[in-house]
């Protein structure tokens, strides 16, 4: 009986997700497309929870839907003010489109067949048991954080560099957005009350990451949400430090701490990012705190499109 309930639930969840995904991409009005995309992202977080991936659900809701959605809506606001009316073009299907549809149907069939073949006769189960046997030597008990910050720490190191490069690229384009108007009573009331709570939650998420779903990326995203909320309610600096030098330092602190700890361990004769067993817990926490700070600052600057805001001195138009 219970299996039946689960299959019905799976069926409903998948059809809802596919329907949302399909409609987000094929509605005529871009504004409705973005709204549906945000709904799709939230439903996707539900799918991650269903597939027993709570860390991904947190990150999907915070970064994949929340911040990406905020970014898209801000982009829409600029595009609409530039283009006047909301863009409601009806894409007419040319022959190229039909060809493309045929090609993607074939691709879908090939990929589906390949996936079924991969899952059916699968001799090697993934790296799960390797991770669980080594888990006690990783310094944290949450397996995803162990993989992210110990076993595959080099991946996370490069990924923080990707985030940094993206923001450096945005900064060089110098496309700062018009600041928002001073918020009315309700929004500023909400902001004054919500922002401190968001900061506490982000600290909690950072701390809990060691033994339960959470960690640097989720807490960085929540901190960035506080910054975005400040920005929306009229605080131009969006909570970022006013002085340019501090802002630059915060941008790179995540990658820098990673590199310094890696090099420090090499000086002590161990490999790059090869944590000694005794300190690995605290080293990971140190890296995570620095990563949270730089993730939050870079995500906020991505939303601001790199503008320093009125508070920053105008030595150069972007920090």
């Amino acid at each position: 009986m219970e299996a039946l309930i689960w299959t019905v639930f799976d069926f409903l969840l998948i059809t809802a997700m596919l329907a949302l995904g399909w409609s987000a991409l094929s509605t005529h009005s871009l504004r409705r497309g973005i709204a549906l995309f945000i709904a799709f992202g939230l439903l996707l977080s539900l799918v991650w929870v269903r597939l027993r991936a709570p860390d991904i659900a947190l990150a999907e809701a915070a970064i994949g839907t929340g911040l990406t959605g905020a970014l898209l809506l801000a982009a829409l606001r600029d595009e609409e003010s530039a283009a006047g009316a909301a863009s409601t073009e009806k894409p007419k299907n040319t022959i190229a489109d039909y060809l493309l549809i045929a090609a993607t149907v074939i691709l879908a069939l090939i990929l589906g067949w390949a996936l079924i073949d991969a899952l059916m006769n699968r001799q090697y189960s993934g790296l799960a048991n390797e991770v669980f046997t080594q888990l006690d030597r990783s310094g944290v008990t949450n397996p995803v954080t162990a993989v992210l910050l110990n076993f595959r720490a080099y991946d996370t190191f490069l990924e923080l560099a990707v985030l940094l490069v993206a923001v450096l690229g945005i900064r060089s384009l110098n496309v700062s957005r018009r600041p928002y108007l001073k918020a009315g009573l309700v929004l500023s009331g909400l902001t004054v009350w919500l922002v401190p709570v968001l900061i506490v939650i982000s600290a909690y998420l950072l701390w809990v990451g060691a033994h339960a779903p959470g960690g640097a990326f989720q807490s960085g995203a929540v901190l960035a949400a506080a910054g975005v909320l400040l920005r929306l309610s009229g605080y131009h600096g969006a909570g970022l430090p006013a002085r340019i030098v501090i802002r630059r330092a915060l941008m790179i602190v995540g990658v820098l701490v990673f590199a310094i700890i890696g090099l420090g361990l090499m000086v002590l004769g161990r490999g790059f990012l090869e944590y000694p067993l005794a300190w690995s817990g605290s080293l990971i926490l140190g890296i995570e705190t620095a990563a949270t700070l730089s993730i939050a600052v870079t995500l906020i600057m991505a939303f601001l499109a790199g503008e320093t805001g009125r508070a920053g001195n105008q030595e150069d138009s972007s920090c």
């Binding site: 606001r77 003010s81 009315g184 309700v186 929004l187 009331g189 909400l190 009350w193 919500l194």
Partner: protein, 97 residues
Amino acid sequence: MAEYIAMALITTGLIFFIAGSIGLLRLPDLYTRLHALTKADNVGLGMIVLGLAIISGDLITTFKLLLVWLFVLASSAASAHLIAQRARRRERGLWKP
């Protein structure tokens, strides 16, 4: 016994959600829809949170669930107000994009 109370609470909560969505589809203009959504969904969520708290039993999860409910209440009330305010201004032609 607690199971059944929780079950009852959650189903009534669901009924409120369904009422909210029907309100969204059927009601004529923006303001009434906003009204339906924020009112019905928040009560529905309150019911579900209560039901889940009973099922979970321990205090910390109950507190977290209440926190979730508080956040949804605050954000949906604030956003409903903002949407309504923007619609009012647009009607009176005050709004400049």
